[in-house]
């Protein structure tokens, strides 16, 4: 997937270039109003770029220089909208087959029954969309888009209208479908926890531009990117594998490098790769190894850098084999005489580690 587009919308300029792999999930992340939806709409053809180039796999969807602008219905994209947009006058089944029937049999590679099975919507087929819960609606909307056997699946905050419980109900399906159907997914979200374990590649957007792209754990350890991430999401992302799904305390133990991290129980088999996010505000710093404490996770490390924030806080980047971000008060920083290269202990509360949809979400 190659995207390189420009479009002026009033005083707002979207000027975006990035590439995504032809398999897996590319997540488009940024504040609301960063221009993420505009990008997805331009890929879908609902909005026309002023200039640029869009191609998916080997198919060129748009090229201003060559004068190519494929009509929406010929782009072979599946689009899952934030609000589902199921057709109210059709049953669930007819919603699902609307696009399927318009796809020539020779281009179909996704089987009706396997989609119904994967999404668990077999018992809903005869119902009307108005009789579905929010989570069911989104699953049907995903199925409807999938059944057109698209070359790419666009998902614009598909979970944003759902509460935490419904999110947890839909997210596993999305994770599975990217693997199962081998369709590249362009996934828009402004919730880092949602895409934490979903994204193979992260593209961070702000004010209509791409700020950075790469693997999630790399991007989140970079100090200069923190300002493009919403305040609550400040923190570090660490990837590891499940080492012990349920240890003696009933908690899950993860392994990353030679270190172990204890987190809330995860329903996942041993060896499963997982990314976790550790919010900066939940990381404490001590000069001596704390004893008799409730903290399960205490890591020895050295301070790599200290970034002054506006307000009363500073961000301390601690190298524990991975980069860990701690937000502490400036007063504490001075009191402990923290500086680059100093050896410290970082403490993380078990309950504060966010598992990015592998478990119940925050909110």
């Amino acid at each position: 997937m190659q995207i390189n587009i420009k479009r002026r919308q009033g005083s707002f300029l979207v000027d975006v270039g990035f590439s995504g792999s032809d398999t897996g999930v590319t997540a488009l992340y940024g504040h609301s109003g960063a221009g993420k939806t505009s990008v997805v709409n331009m890929v879908s053809g609902l909005v026309k770029p002023d200039k640029g180039h869009i191609s998916v796999k080997d198919l060129c969807l748009f090229d201003s220089e060559k004068g190519i602008n494929l009509p929406i219905d010929q782009r072979r994209i599946g689009y899952v909208f934030q609000e589902g947009r199921l057709f109210p006058h059709y049953s669930v089944k007819n919603n699902l087959t609307y696009g399927l029937k318009l796809t020539p049999p020779s281009l179909r590679f996704i089987d009706f029954d396997s989609v119904i099975d994967l999404l668990g919507i077999g018992h809903l087929l005869e119902r009307r969309p108005s009789k579905l819960s929010g989570g069911e609606k989104q699953r049907v909307a995903i199925g409807r888009a999938l059944l057109t056997s698209p070359a790419i699946l666009l998902m614009d905050e598909p979970l944003a209208s759902l509460d935490a419980k419904r999110k947890a109900e839909v997210l596993p399906f999305i994770t599975r479908l990217s693997a199962e159907f081998k369709i590249p997914i362009l996934y828009v979200s402004h919730h880092i926890d949602e895409i934490l374990n979903l994204a193979d590649k992260l593209v961070i957007m702000d004010s209509g531009r791409v700020i950075a792209s790469g693997a999630p754990e790399d991007l989140f350890s970079k100090p200069d990117l923190q300002k493009h991430i919403s305040m609550d999401d400040h923190g570090s992302v660490i990837s590891g594998v499940v080492d012990d799904p349920s240890n003696c305390a009933g908690l899950t133990q993860l392994k990353f490098g030679s270190l172990y991290l204890t987190v809330s129980p995860v329903n996942a088999p041993k060896g499963m790769p997982i990314r976790v996010r550790i919010a900066a505000k939940h990381v404490g710093i001590a000069l001596k190894k704390p004893e008799d404490t409730s903290f399960h996770n205490i890591f020895k490390g050295t301070i790599r850098s200290i970034v002054d924030n506006e307000g009363a806080f500073v961000d301390v980047y601690v190298d524990i084999g991975r980069v860990l971000l701690a937000r502490i008060s400036r007063h504490s920083c001075n009191r402990l005489d923290l500086h680059e290269g100093k050896e410290v202990y970082a403490m993380i509360k078990t309950v504060a580690v966010s598992l990015g949809g592998s478990n119940e979400d925050r909110e």
Binding site: S44, G45, L46, P71, I72, D73, Q74, R75, R76, I77, G78, Y79, F81, E83, R85, F87, P88, H89, Y98, G99, L102, T103, R127, R128, P129, S130, K131, R144, A145, T148
Partner: protein, 232 residues
């Protein structure tokens, strides 16, 4: 003679009225939906003028509308002349002309109702259908039109009722010819002009009210059923 026994003249007027009104609705429906769609969805310079033209019959005296129709569609009129020359169709002084008069008078009501309904259709659903591989025409017939049906039904009933009551434009354009253009309102008017016409006038008056009420109740029931179905 019993009060409820309709005379032949009255039966004739009733049949003619139904015939003219049904045709008027049928003729104006496709054009009405098209006009409503243009007003609801297309932006172009001079849209206000088109909007005004469509609504004109609602605000000018019906006699004026009838006179304009006579000027345009009469045997020697600008359009009527061509129509006769190439198709042999004559609209003046026959029931087809009455259909045209009724259709023109009812058109604004039809367009208003369909337009309102169209504007209520979520265009996001249309975009969604496009991304699922449907071309614009298919989207119109599978998404837009079905979701507009309650407004179309209401518009059709309003147009039908308006056609039943059409008087001024009809009498001016196609005159008052028994068995040809004398619909219920014209027959009623004729009864009031002759001695001993009161009973006939009263009967036609009651018939008009009954038909109009029945139409309104039917439309309400049908529209409600469709809204319920559309919302699931």
């Amino acid at each position: 003679m019993h009060f409820w026994q309709l005379t032949e003249i009255e039966i004739e007027a009733l049949k003619l009225s139904l015939q003219v009104s049904l045709w008027a609705v049928a003729v104006s429906l496709p054009a009405g939906i098209f006009a409503a769609w243009i007003l609801a969805r297309v932006k172009f310079p001079g849209k206000n003028i088109l909007d005004g033209l469509i609504h004109l019959p609602l605000v000018i005296p019906p006699v004026v509308t009838g006179y304009i129709l006579l000027l345009l569609l009469g045997r020697n009129g600008a359009i009527g002349n061509l129509l006769y020359k190439y198709t042999g169709i004559v609209l003046t002084f026959n029931w087809k002309g009455a259909v045209i008069a009724a259709a023109v008078m009812a058109f604004p009501l039809l367009v208003r109702s369909v337009r309102l309904s169209l504007e209520g259709v979520d265009q996001g659903l249309e975009s969604a259908a496009r991304t699922l591989g449907a071309g614009p025409i298919r989207v119109f017939f599978t998404i837009t039109l079905p979701l507009t049906i309650p407004g179309i039904i209401t518009g059709m009933i309003l147009a039908f009722a308006r056609s039943l009551g059409e008087f001024g434009a009809t009498i001016t354009f196609v005159s008052n010819i028994q068995g040809e253009t004398r619909t219920i309102p014209l027959a009623l008017y004729t009864f009031t002009q002759v001695p001993d016409g009161e009973i006939g006038a009263m009967r036609l008056c009651i018939i008009s009210i009954v038909i109009a009420m029945a139409a309104l109740i039917c439309s309400e029931l049908i529209a409600r059923r469709f809204s319920a179905r559309l919302k699931g």
